[in-house]
Amino acid sequence: MAKKQTKKETKKQTKKEKIDKSKNLISLLKKHGAQVYEDLENGEFPKFSIPNRSISNIIYDKKLRQYVLGTNTSLRSSRNSSQLRSFTQLLWLAFFANKLTHEKKSSTLRDVYYSSQAFAVDFEDQGESDNIIVDLEAVLSQPREDFYVFPEERSSIFGDLTIEYTIPGYEGKTQNLSSHPDGYAIGPSMTSAELVDTSAELVIAIEKGGLFTRFVEEQVDKKFKSIIINTGGQAPRSTRTLLKRLHDEMSLPVVILTDGDVYGEHIAMVIKSGSANAAHLKGLTVPDAKWMGVWATDIDKFKLPTIPMTESDIKRCYDLLKDPRYQEGLWKRELEVFIKIKRKAELEAFSKYGLNNITEKYLPKKLEESKSF
């Protein structure tokens, strides 16, 4: 079939890309190391140029449909005694990233913090080491996952998708993700795996673990030919990477189902167009993803039981109204309705009309609707 053919081709391409990316990263790290070495050898103080990540340097790129960093950079020099420590930390992380990439060993953010202690480089707390990791991302313009640093995982995936592992010890091994009803954790081995085959025609991302389990029980994967992903609240980067790959490599549309409140709306927005925190990175967004619900307008339409918004909920609404991404269409409209009704509804609210109401009634209706926007 023609469709399968293209998928295979993309796959080969991505595999090659991946190896290139890894090589690229290693040579990039080596380049930085060599520069520092040369500086020292010449009796000069080495320095790094780091893109400035302050709010003033974050711009919304309409073409890319995400936040990107502006052109401002700041210099971190070992000549400056107040920067010497963080310069050393950054260089150490580059050295550590190099080691991880070479050995293809993954490490969590917390691992990084503890690993530093083996060398005389000290971080005051994990917050400090997390910051340095973001600095290195910005210097390399590569997400930390590329140098094998991952967050603690909490999101999961289920559905007819076959993957082929690439991590050491599992190379070539395949796995179908519909074999275990609790779903599969989305970790480094998942994000780095080859996506081999799927019968699904859709990816449904759900905000909550409870609903994810319900969807598996109700066989939403079969009924709607879908892959179900639990984002566990705000989707972690690895989950967003996987969503993007499912969309780009398997040509699957992505729909998002969240609670009917301002935070839910923003969860969908981050999957679609990224977060300000990761403005220094590209390749984490799925611009075509669609927020399916629960919308503010759905609350009235489906007569959902609601709870009143708190003061901080309302403040969040007004904050988002100023965000350039919320200036038009659905996003603006729903936000304004939330502000108007000052009430919110959780996904579980559908249970009022029976446990399978959400999958039997709401989901089909919204999926149908979503095709049109």
Binding site: L29, K30, H32, G33, A34, V36, Y37, E38, L40, E41, G43, F45, P46, S78, S81, L84, R85, F87, T88, L91, W92, A94, F95, N98, F119, A120, V121
Partner: protein, 623 residues
């Protein structure tokens, strides 16, 4: 029933008995502390005024240590001062308001009133006698046990004893209700702080729990003693003028041994014993050559029919012209006696003349500081008084008018500060240095200034680091060499310290090991309350305090920035020797090189660089 209310006159001791709260004897805790203060300060004052390096020993002992507080304590304070002549002891410790100090000079206390209050309090609470041991001549020690007759304001001597002893000094011991478990901290602080502001004194204290505190004198020289000077017109009120009138030297002179010696000399009767008649006969012959005070004394002798021996045994209390009575105290029988005066006698005229007093201009220029004959005349013009008005004849209304005018007239020069006795830069510095052993210290003594007629001098010291263990700014407040411990919240010194922006002087106010010692010397310290614990914020005083503190803070700031630079340089050097090797190690591995780059020179340069930076700074400072 009669509608008329009955008015009773009360004696001064009764008045104080009824108002003892005012004098700091409100409860056992406060009273014990106040008693300690009064006795220690009396001893220090006595030593200061006779130029003796004070050596004071204090003990507080519980009568029954097993009892819970509050309970009876025996408080004893012993000094090496001049002592009090035996005949004065009963009056000094057995009456309230004995003695007359109308001149102005800086002293810790006034009139020794507080000590009598402490004795009174002890007697009220325990009904036990005060024990006084006094040795004034270095030969005989007189031991007294006395009670105070509150209604009559007279001493009741229970026991009197003589012992020969060469050790001069005074020891006072009272039994009183106290609460040492609560007052202990304050008393120990008081002793410690007193030793800080009196570095020439040795002060030891044995507390009831068996602990011994010994603060040895740090310096062997005393600061110059204050001189007694006349009051300044601005600092006067009606009552003070009235007292001054009573005390003018036109008044009855103080008939002491010196005075008697003078009378004998002028009469040419120094050597032998003379009868009353012999003295009177000689007087008739020599009258014209006699000085005014001698004439007055002889006039008194005529009415008392006294010879020199009798004169020695008495003290004149009042010359009552209206009733023609002469009232005097007899030391030998310890009672007040009255003698009639013959109006016809020419001696009577002499006394009357004396009591009427001198002319206003004479009174002003002789009895006040900063007032000369010219200023006195101009003042009379301003106040619309006749210059020749006799002060003794002035009515109460005229006195009020005089007092008001003295304070509003702007022509007087500012007060004379020679009556003040600041500790001085040297002793203050030594005191701070030895007690705190700081890394940095500075002291300043401002020039004298005045507020409403009272001169004052501010002394201040600042100390930082070293063995100072407290964190945050600790302020030690002193006034006339007395530590002020209570009610610090509302004190003007604290206000000035709080108002200072310490960041400007590179000091972290809340964590700095810093001590400030502030000393206000004045003939009258403007205390906010009777308890003498906090100084009111007079603008003149506040300004001087501010200037003193600014001066010291700038010095501290200089030290802090030098210290900061040295620390920074050291920190930098440490930083480079710690991190550069790591940088070298990581970049070597990252770049795949075998050998580490040659970076050692860079560390050396960096360390050397900061050092030379520091020394350049030094040269600038010194230049």
């Amino acid at each position: 029933m009669s509608s008329k209310e009955q008015f009773n006159q009360i004696s001064p001791s009764e008045f104080f008995y009824r108002n003892r709260d005012l004098a700091g004897f409100s409860n056992p805790t406060r009273s014990l502390y106040t008693a300690v203060r009064e006795f220690v300060e009396n001893s220090l004052d006595a030593c200061d005024h006779s130029g003796i390096l004070p050596n004071i020993h204090m003990t507080i002992k519980a009568v029954d240590p097993e009892k819970p507080d509050p309970k009876q304590y025996i408080l004893t304070v012993k000094d090496n001062g001049p002592g009090i002549p035996s005949k004065h002891v009963p009056l000094a410790f057995g009456t309230v308001l004995y003695g007359s100090k109308f001149g102005l000079k800086q002293a810790r206390g006034m009139f020794g009133l507080g000590a009598t209050m402490a004795i009174l309090y002890g007697q009220i609470t325990t009904n036990k006698a005060v024990k006084v041991k006094s040795n004034a001549d270095g030969k005989t020690r007189f031991d007294y046990e006395m009670l105070l007759d509150i209604q009559k304001n007279k001493p009741v001597i229970l026991k009197k004893q003589e012992t020969s002893s060469s050790e001069k000094g005074l020891s006072v011991s009272i039994c009183l209700d106290g609460d040492y478990s609560k007052a202990g901290t304050k008393i120990r602080d008081y002793v410690y702080q007193t030793s800080l502001i009196t570095p020439y004194a040795t002060i030891s204290f044995d507390d009831p729990k068996g602990e011994k505190f010994h603060h040895k004198a740090i310096i062997r020289s005393m600061p110059p003693a204050p001189t007694i000077i006349a009051p300044h017109p601005y600092g006067i009120d009606v009552e003070t003028i009235r007292r001054m009138l009573v005390d003018t030297h036109y008044q009855i002179p103080n008939v002491d041994d010196k005075m008697i010696e003078k009378v004998r000399k002028e009469l040419g009767m120094s050597k032998k014993k003379f009868t009353y008649d012999e003295i009177m006969k000689k007087t008739e012959k020599k009258w014209k050559s006699l000085t005014r005070p001698v004439r007055v004394v002889i006039a008194l002798m005529s009415f008392l029919e006294a010879d020199f021996e009798k004169l020695q045994r008495i003290r004149i209390e009042d010359v009552d012209l209206r009733n023609n009575k002469l009232i005097y105290w007899d030391y030998s029988t310890s009672q007040t006696l009255v003698a009639d005066m013959d109006v016809e006698s020419h001696y009577y005229k002499q006394l009357a003349n004396t009591v009427q007093g001198e002319s206003l201009t004479h009174f002003l220029s002789k009895r006040f500081q900063r007032v000369g004959p010219t200023a006195a005349l101009e003042f009379c013009k301003f106040a619309k008084f006749k210059p020749e008005t006799r002060v003794g004849n002035m009515t109460d209304q005229e006195l009020v008018k005089l007092s008001d005018a003295l304070q509003t007239y702007e022509g007087f020069r500012s007060p004379d500060p020679t009556c003040l006795a600041p500790l001085g830069d040297g002793p203050l510095e030594k005191g701070i240095e030895r007690r705190f052993e700081p890394d940095f210290m500075a002291v300043v003594q401002r020039t004298a200034s005045a507020y409403s007629g009272f001169p004052f001098v501010i002394e201040m010291g600042i100390a930082y680091g070293g063995k100072i263990e407290t964190r945050g700014t600790t302020v030690y407040r002193f006034a006339n060499r007395i530590p002020l411990l209570y009610d610090e919240g509302s004190d003007v010194v604290l206000k000035v310290v709080k108002d200072t922006d310490w960041n400007r002087y590179k000091v972290k106010n809340d964590s700095a090991p810093m001590i400030i010692v502030s000393h206000i010397c004045s003939t009258r310290v403007p205390y906010k309350t009777v308890g003498k614990e906090n100084v009111a914020d007079r603008p003149e005083i506040e300004k001087e305090l501010r200037l003193a503190l600014q001066f010291l803070s700038r010095k501290l700031s200089g030290y802090m920035s030098k210290k900061g630079q040295a620390e920074m340089a050291k920190k930098r050097a440490n930083l480079y020797s710690k991190y550069l090797p790591l940088v070298a190690q990581f970049c070597t591995e990252l770049s795949g090189n075998k050998k580490e780059p040659n970076y050692k020179e860079m560390i050396k340069e960096e360390t050397a660089l900061t050092n030379s930076d520091g020394s350049i700074e030094e040269v600038k400072k010194n230049g």
